[in-house]
Symmetry: C2
Subunit: 187 residues, 2 copies
């Protein structure tokens, strides 16, 4: 997730027969899954594209953080590391869609559920710098998911990662998730 | 601006020689202008398009409100009216871009400037229902502007509209605007 200012980056996750990442496992957590693919290609661009490639293409765009306050932003900046660290050969892609009820909430209500009740940022902070992540927004691109979150970590942090996703799925925020797929990858 | 849940709507504002709206006036408030065009066509779709048409095409997407809290949302819902009221034959399109400094702020800092200091929502409320508006997000579509705001009002509310934009341009929030164009239209 990006907590410093930057130009939005468009990212296409293309599932098919080519790409750096081998898809080891893919399963629907809630709702409909995706067609089985062997590999994932992650393509970054500063230009929006609507091209569909491979068996499926999921698109998202990085943006400013919507809920975190200054103190949390500073803590994240201090502790997080970038993507593509040589040791981080494991990745996960978790597309989620939230319900209409979530999107009908006002900002203060979403912030309360996101952080004061679900401790989303605080939970994520506990796993830094081991588990790097980047959030992509998809809802305003007319995509089937609202968010695509990409995680990278070394094989020895596999169980920490399982714990992280388990904790997030138990939160009040996750009651608003009506479609979720869990993809695990290796390079 | 939409304060109730809905599917994002993609809107293309096409400046050229056709369209319902006649462009009566267009001037850059801050930064670079746009090529002169006679008419504006407003095209709505549930599908994202990257097509460029006319002399220029500005694209945006409606989304959930990012700053307003529940009390403000309810007040807006009670007081606002829709677009295309028969009497509302005047319109304005105001594309703005905000500085990198704005986008580097955390959510609590942006909210403080947006509402507690600049009273953006409260000022807008004073002019309801006379001046209807809809906000479109453009930053995450890779567009030259961050936001496109569309206003509609009857000719007798022209001076109220001038007052509204004047008040907003005097706020702390507007110090973060580094490109702004003001287009006035009639149908």
């Amino acid at each position: 997730m990006s907590y410093t200012s930057q130009r939005p980056l468009f990212v296409s996750f293309v599932g098919g027969s080519s790409g750096l990442w081998r898809i080891e496992r893919m399963y629907p957590v809630v709702g409909e899954g995706l067609p089985v693919a062997d590999r994932l290609d992650v393509r970054e661009s500063f230009t929006l594209s609507t091209v569909q490639e491979g068996l499926w293409t999921l698109r998202g765009v990085t943006s400013n953080a919507r809920y975190i306050i200054r103190e949390e932003a500073d803590e994240l900046t201090r502790r997080q590391e970038g993507l593509m660290r040589p040791t981080a050969t494991c990745a996960a892609l978790i597309p989620i869609r939230k319900t209409e009820a979530w999107w009908a909430l006002a900002q203060d209500e979403r912030r309360r559920i996101f952080e004061e009740s679900s401790h989303h940022t605080q939970v994520g902070l506990e796993y830094l710098p081991a588990i790097a992540r980047r959030l992509h927004h998809s809802r305003e691109l007319g995509e089937p998911f609202d968010f695509l979150t990409w995680f990278e970590y070394a094989p020895e942090h596999q169980s920490a990662f399982e714990e992280l996703v388990k904790r997030l799925r138990e939160t009040e925020e996750w009651q608003y998730v009506d479609r979720e797929i869990d993809l695990r990858l290796r390079r």
